[in-house]
Symmetry: C2
Amino acid sequence: MNIRSNPDTTRPAVTTGGLPSSRKIYAVPATAPDLRVPLREIMLSEGAGEPNLPVYDTSGPYTDPGVTIDVNKGLSRARTEWVKQRGGVEQYEGRDIKPEDNGNVGAAHAAKSFTAHHQPLRGVGDAPITQYEFARKGIITKEMIYVAERENLGRKQQLERAEAALADGESFGAAVPAFITPEFVRDEIARGRAIIPANINHGELEPMIIGRNFLTKINANIGNSAVTSSVEEEVDKMVWAIRWGADTVMDLSTGRNIHTTREWILRNSPVPIGTVPIYQALEKCDGDPVKLTWELYKDTLIEQAEQGVDYFTIHAGVRLQYIHLTADRVTGIVSRGGSIMAKWCLAHHQESFLYTHFDEICDLMRKYDVSFSLGDGLRPGSIADANDRAQFAELETLGELTKIAWAKGCQVMIEGPGHVPLHKIKINMDKQLKECGEAPFYTLGPLTTDIAPGYDHITSGIGAAMIGWFGCAMLCYVTPKEHLGLPDRNDVKTGVITYKIAAHAADLGKGHPAAQLRDDALSRARFDFRWQDQFNLGLDPDTAKAFHDETLPKEAHKVAHFCSMCGPKFCSMKITQDVRDYAAGLGDNEKAALNLAGAGSFGSVGMTMSGVIEDGMAQMSEKFRDMGEKLYLDAEKVKESNKALS
Amino acid sequence: MNIRSNPDTTRPAVTTGGLPSSRKIYAVPATAPDLRVPLREIMLSEGAGEPNLPVYDTSGPYTDPGVTIDVNKGLSRARTEWVKQRGGVEQYEGRDIKPEDNGNVGAAHAAKSFTAHHQPLRGVGDAPITQYEFARKGIITKEMIYVAERENLGRKQQLERAEAALADGESFGAAVPAFITPEFVRDEIARGRAIIPANINHGELEPMIIGRNFLTKINANIGNSAVTSSVEEEVDKMVWAIRWGADTVMDLSTGRNIHTTREWILRNSPVPIGTVPIYQALEKCDGDPVKLTWELYKDTLIEQAEQGVDYFTIHAGVRLQYIHLTADRVTGIVSRGGSIMAKWCLAHHQESFLYTHFDEICDLMRKYDVSFSLGDGLRPGSIADANDRAQFAELETLGELTKIAWAKGCQVMIEGPGHVPLHKIKINMDKQLKECGEAPFYTLGPLTTDIAPGYDHITSGIGAAMIGWFGCAMLCYVTPKEHLGLPDRNDVKTGVITYKIAAHAADLGKGHPAAQLRDDALSRARFDFRWQDQFNLGLDPDTAKAFHDETLPKEAHKVAHFCSMCGPKFCSMKITQDVRDYAAGLGDNEKAALNLAGAGSFGSVGMTMSGVIEDGMAQMSEKFRDMGEKLYLDAEKVKESNKALS
């Protein structure tokens, strides 16, 4: 099922076929029977004694055996009809592609153009265009119905279980409901607390939602650079990233063929694509920030909006007056976008044109429903620079810009750092929520130490799990190559899996009602020695199986009731089964008797063994009935403990 | 310098030679000039403009080019003299090695015996033997002086910097001082808040300390099993683990040759070695827990104490009356030791012999100063089972046992879970401190989700960083092979590096006075494009360099002022240097003027841009002087933010 062959060498090769023992299923929302919302069903082995597990599926049609993939043609554009049906848009000729759009690449190095061309759509007049505008008017769009269905992970009847799990979480003021309805989605978008990045020209999109009352999402960065990589590699990386769980993908290309690369990616992407338009604008003026102009930048925004980019990183918070605040930093300005704008501001001794033209940017992005990802151009690039005045001054400005963008009808999220030690992570989340009116936070890591180049997926995965728990809505992955080189295919996978772990750990911590279902299913498989189920329920079945096979390669061992740690002679899990059998045979009186059987002759050193023994038989019997037979879900104690963090 | 060749195939091959651009240095404590306390000095490139950086060094003589390593002979046993000098011990014949000690292995499969034999020492009479007893009597041992020097990382004169860093941390009630003195070490040990695991028969030991007011430590597990691996591999893994930073190593061997393997490891180990004696005891009765007896177990303790094992995991908290509390768990009892004892208790319907004979165990361990690592035999093996009654009932018993062990003169630490979601981690630390009188906590992970077999170093590294921050003194690593197979050499390294990251992130969060020095040095190297310094200051220079070379392999690129992300034409860090040059040229008046230069024509959408603009020129100028030129170290704000975690 895992195919990556390509007889036609002129087009990118991508990986298709489902994950092991998984099949693509589609949920049909009751209120919109024409929608087909994808899920991946993990099929358990015969005799598992429990139902298959549906999980969130970002992988798009690539894992649907019923869809013929042709990267040259791109994915089907079903969503274009939704946009047209609700009106308020016009189809128009669109901007011509210019040689500078691809860095004036010569014929020898030009990538093959994408074959199909779609005339772009744009909003006309005052009719609502963006998801924010629809939400504010009380209108539920198909995108909203779609994401509501998607967020429920196939759950319909499990509300009781869900509520128990919720009660056990600690969400720091988030309001994750037991079940997501389209109306809840609409309300969250109207409040600005969530966004559905969905350019009206991205017809291939399978909509998803970003907000702290939904599943925590992750982004994977790809993109060629001036130094290395090709169009083929980037399309392949996109498909590879979503196969393993990337919810959105940012194309950060900076070299030649930048327009063409993006076209190939967009036409083949079922997930939202984000970009940093200033990167391309810079390519159009020979890489010299000083030559940047508002006109050139605006033209780039239109170019990308017409292609269908779903969100733009705009570093409009890097203001002239903040720049010298970075002068004494250990690592100055590490954001590329931030440093480009800093250079421009200093060279012209003028306020950033992104800031002075922000209202025009809003008007333009609204017409296509391109979401803002307000960039943190002054984010800290080292532990020493975390939470400094430059960073927080910019964040305050991003808060102001958020309100302007909302007033203009746009969807907004806010980018965050960077490098932050453990004890300074929560203040980032707190301040972001306060300054930016609860607009979704989208952070890079943060990296919790600077001392492990080569392992920054891990230094940052720690920070990402924590900030996700605290309320961050989307986590931008960091790969092992961070600070050292460009991620290859393996790095992309490692980054994605690491961030799926962080996002899922955050969801468990917040008490997301569906999160623990997968942990429980996997743990039951582990306890039952259903090895294949354990592999298949994991985030990366291939690696889990390969690791197991290194020690115990034989097929027979996949059904063995032991593992390589203890061997066949002795096994802790097997003994536990004996315990279980034993306990099942005990009556209440026997349990009570058992409580005292072991008191023995202790205490010879003259110290009392307080606790259970002294409680006596009667109380203990009651205690066991109360506590022993069920989980210890004492939410109050948990909250009390976390409160003490001061 | 990285040598792993072995002309003599009968002895284990181990890796010797220093890490890249590092040299072994020795600090000499003022109060004990005969001691030589190892440090690793990372030598920076010419023109770095700052001093070389001394870092903690766990690697032992293997990285000292002045020491000839002969694994057949073992390391020198300098510490034996310290023990003899202070008296109270006798040398004696010792227990004979029996065939059952090596699982009755036949000649065909027997590992080669270690050549040298050292008669064991043991305490006699009431004279103090253990570090705890010396500390309680107000006596500072050489071990205490040694670890005090070691914890200061070569710092002598940096107290001012150290205190600033301390003020910025959040240590949750720990009391990390700016500088460690031998008296502070003694006091912490006397309070039971720290231990120096140091069996008097482990003469090869370079002492180290475990406690929450010291650097966070990590343990690496090795050991052969009934299914796979050999003596050679295990000795190699030990040397490999300490090369990358393991502070202690546990030998969890369960197969044949168990005595011989341990002898080879101990005689070649400069770090404390821990074991779980019940594993070997089980081998002595054909792997049948029901056949275990107190006599057989006691004999095993003596066998291992005489060899020099520094700490024993003893699962004495698994009491008969707690066992059925696990019956409804998703994953029952997952601790091997816990399930062995559970099986025994059920089969005999008796209280655990570890519990009923606990006072005898204390008397025995005291004679050799073997530290207790009170095992968590009922730890949760899944997210679903975290913080349940079985787990906490056992922890309460461990608290009782801690006080008994202290009364008997023994050093004690406490083992912790396991699998715990983010929001339930802190309650583990809180409860451990409360129940166990601040005895050091030593946790496995915890894993923060069950859904990523193959990546459990990461699922657990997240939890480890957090619990370390909250006060856990030692973090037991988890490798990528957890739940799937036995770790090989690569897995050991990955596990160690991941846990060094977690421990260091925890130290930064706690505000350890020396922790950030390394982050800052590495970040300065990164900003200055001193590539080799960046690699060498990292936890794994080899991998960092290899990753860099994948994209930019040429030697010239190691001094290039750009990286593969932006390429030579544009580089954010280069622009930052321009900013810095620019800011350096600004006078205060110019800075003030700059604050308003960018106000421009904004506000056209009718919203005010509050904040900096409205503050006016005068205040801003003052603000910048106050805040702009230094780091934003507002400890109060940080504490306030973390307080809100409720």
